[in-house]
């Protein structure tokens, strides 16, 4: 059976896609059968894996169970890691969901036949609060929430915990961290003190993370042994540990 992990934040540009791509890569490298569904119509994960952002029949037919997710999956360059690509039509996914019965249960229904084929399913979510995100909350075992240590981030975290209360585990981690900035250090200390679910590992604002878009690759290949690669490994280790403490779908 699968564990479903969604990288999610209401805000954009916080490192969701980097986390989804690098963590799913590490999961597969560790021997787990792994799928990443790029739910963001911008298709950044799909681009990074050099796969065409296109699903036959579009998002509407997929969430209405007219096409099988299984038929749309593509293998990436990495053994054990598959991708369900983004499609520009995902920008209307809210509308497509809205017309269905119990729209918030839809993504889980799309994924259900895949559970026995994958140990981990990552969902790379678009930044928004919408039917899509509600459907993600229902499908996911855990939300992986990248947080930039800046003012208001504590508020973002609190809002999110309230939003998904009773739903998936919320596992937040610091992203795009610049340790030389005293503000970053202060905010991190404060949030870690206040929220026990804040993960220990922090992803630095490193060159190799930015290079992902240019090289279309994962940090472990761009700069193996670099700060970012090590930070993602630590993060993945921590996520797995927390999942083992929590439940399984």
């Amino acid at each position: 059976m699968s564990r479903v992990l969604a990288t999610y934040n209401i805000k954009g540009g916080v490192g969701k896609t980097s986390a989804a791509v690098n963590l799913s890569y590490l999961a597969a490298r560790g021997g787990a059968r792994t799928l990443l569904w790029d739910l963001d119509p911008q298709g950044a994960s799909t681009y990074l894996f050099r796969i065409r952002p296109k699903v036959r029949g579009g998002g509407r037919r997929l969430v209405r169970l007219k096409t099988r997710a299984d038929d749309l999956i593509k293998g990436t360059d990495y053994l054990g890691l598959d991708l369900l690509p983004a499609d520009f039509s995902y920008r209307h996914m809210d509308l497509a969901l809205d017309g269905t019965k119990r729209p918030t249960a839809r993504l889980a229904r799309v994924l259900k036949p895949l559970y026995r084929h994958y140990d981990y399913i990552f969902l790379d979510c678009p930044p928004s609060i919408s039917l899509v995100s509600e459907s993600v909350f229902e499908a996911a075992d855990a939300l992986l929430v990248p947080i930039i240590p800046a003012t208001l981030s504590s508020r973002t975290f609190a809002q999110l915990e309230e939003l998904v209360a009773g739903g998936p585990q919320v596992l937040a981690f610091f992203s795009m961290v610049e340790v030389r900035k005293s503000l970053h250090r202060e905010v991190m200390a404060e949030l870690r003190a206040r929220h026990v679910t804040m993960l220990g590992a922090a992803i630095p604002a490193a060159d190799e993370v930015e290079r992902m878009g240019v090289d279309r690759s994962v940090v472990a290949e761009i700069a193996p042994g670099g700060r970012a690669a090590l930070a993602y490994e630590a993060l993945w280790w921590d996520v797995k540990r927390r999942l083992d403490l929590g439940g399984r779908r």
Partner: protein
């Protein structure tokens, strides 16, 4: 064959570098890492993984199980050292055990071959530089016990990438038509097993013989007994070494089947010599009996535990430790006997006797020249009728021995049907008959097992009570005995129904029409 459709043999004496260059003249390739890997493959003695289309290999601290045809990973787990022997039911619960246990059950995984492989990974890429087909060039060598390496033909393995099936077809076309490469007929693992001088698919304990109905009975008996002797000999070393419980089990089944043939076809043997061989096989059966009974007790212990209420289950631990101790003692005694000159001579003497059987004078061997179909049919009818008489005489007041004797006859009938009738009589008669006999035997077997288990528990009571927590264990054993007696009664209650089916008028006339 579809299962190895993606393995192509590379021309002899081409290095992996040269092969990579050759391919790059025809395909857009991303050159990947060059590496070497050592893998130790595992399978059960009887090749259960191969038969299920799986392969288990240990490499760099990990044991993984893959699908042999697609190469797809089914499960893996970390293991510090390559195991000498691995029992799936002893693994921690998890994906690896989940994949292995239903396939191998009680059988141990044993080292099969040790392969050292030079590997070069390539990727066929599309216009976006995305890998659409994986190609692994590999040059494998088998490492045999002396450390010597036997090189195998180098291969190009095409690994499909999901969603790029058309590209895979294109690449296959290029390799076949453009480069003239040919698909390998066997998997690397099979090639390695053959190169190491081992048998593909392991050593089977199945009998599976071709007999003709008009064949001389002594020739048919010699063929069946010869095959049974192979099974006995093949399972002896694993029995002595306690590799897994199935060696002893298969050894005993083959001995028991041989004894059934000795009894049922006694007219094909010279009577005086047969008597001494019968004695020796009976002895082999006796010296291995206690060890097998205790194997079953220990293996089934978890199931027994579940028959007592949950709060008493842990109280049975002292019983388990006594059973384990007894099992070890019984094994030691058995191994001593099986290593003795008597055992060696019993087996080799029996072997040369059945080898000579057909050439022995026919005097005293009254059934030797009769067609096996006729003789086997006659015996089946006789044993079946005998069972009808014995079964009809059983009622609620019958002693346990009456059930036990019927069960022993039932085993004889089953062996006659499986060994001698199955190859020469129509399957549509033999198979349903074996099935209905099996239902009867299951009920009789349960009855007998419970009877023996209750007696064993009683005999262990003294020893258990002397242990710390022994008194509490005795109370839990009382609950267990109660359940065993209940189940024995239930088996008695079920007996009438299964026997009625076995003895039905349709079954009787089928036996009469087929085997006479």
């Amino acid at each position: 064959m579809a299962s190895h459709a993606h393995d192509y043999l590379l021309p002899a004496r081409v290095t992996l570098e040269e092969a990579g260059e050759l391919l790059s003249e025809h395909l857009d390739l991303r050159q990947g890492a060059v590496s070497s890997a050592e893998r130790r493959f595992y399978d059960t003695f009887d090749g259960l993984l191969r038969a299920a289309g799986l392969a288990a290999a240990y490499e760099r601290g990990r044991l993984s199980v893959t699908d042999s045809s697609s190469g797809e990973l089914r499960a893996a787990a970390e293991l510090a050292e390559p195991p000498e022997r691995l029992l799936a039911y002893e693994l921690p619960h998890g994906p690896l055990r989940g994949v292995l246990e239903p396939v191998v059950e009680l059988r141990a995984l044993l080292p099969l071959v040790h392969l050292a492989t030079d590997v070069r990974e390539l990727g066929v890429v599309d216009a976006a530089d995305k890998i659409v087909v994986r190609i692994v060039l590999e040059r494998p060598a088998v490492i045999i016990a002396s450390g010597r390496r036997i090189g195998l033909a180098a291969r190009a393995r095409l690994g499909p990438v999901r969603g790029y099936e058309d590209e895979l077809l294109d690449v296959r076309g290029t390799l076949e038509a453009g480069l003239g490469l040919v698909e390998a007929e066997r998997t690397v693992l099979d090639e390695a097993v053959l190169a190491a001088g081992e048998q593909l698919g392991g050593v089977s304990s199945k009998i599976d013989l071709r007999l003709r109905a008009d064949q001389r009975a002594d020739a048919a008996a010699a063929a069946v007994l010869g095959r049974l002797l192979e099974v006995i000999e093949a399972n002896l070393p694993g029995t002595i070494a306690d590799v897994d419980s199935e060696f002893l089990h298969d050894f005993r089944v083959a001995v028991r089947r041989s004894r059934a043939v000795q009894r049922e076809l006694k007219g094909v043997f010279p009577p005086a010599q047969l008597a001494s061989h019968r004695g020796e096989l009976r002895w082999l059966q006796q010296v291995t009996g206690p060890s097998r009974d205790l194997d079953v007790y220990v293996l089934d212990f978890d199931a027994f535990r579940l028959t007592v209420p949950e709060r008493f289950q842990a109280d049975l631990d002292p019983l388990l430790s006594v059973l384990r101790g007894r099992r070890l003692a019984a094994r030691r005694a058995m191994v001593r006997e099986l290593r003795s000159d008597r055992a060696r001579e019993a087996i080799s003497g029996w072997g040369s006797f059945i080898e000579r059987l057909e050439s022995l004078p026919e005097e005293g061997r009254v059934d030797a020249a009769r067609p096996i179909g006729e003789l086997a049919g006659e015996r089946i009818v006789k044993v079946y009728r005998r069972m009808l008489r014995m079964g009809r005489a059983i009622d609620a007041s019958s002693p346990p021995e009456a059930y036990h004797e019927l069960r022993k006859k039932g085993k004889e009938l089953r062996y006659l049907l499986e060994l001698l009738a199955a190859p020469v009589f129509p399957g549509e008669v033999v198979k349903p008959m074996v099935r209905s006999l099996k239902s009867l035997q299951d009920v009789l077997g349960r009855h007998q097992d419970r009877e023996v288990q209750v007696a064993t528990l009683r005999s262990l009571a003294g020893e258990v009570s002397a242990l710390p927590a022994g008194a509490v264990a005795l109370m839990a054993m009382g609950v267990l005995v109660d359940w065993l007696l209940q189940d024995e009664r239930a088996a008695r209650d079920e007996f009438a129904a299964v026997f009625t089916e076995f003895a039905s008028p349709e079954q009787r006339s089928l036996v009469k029409d087929t085997f006479r």
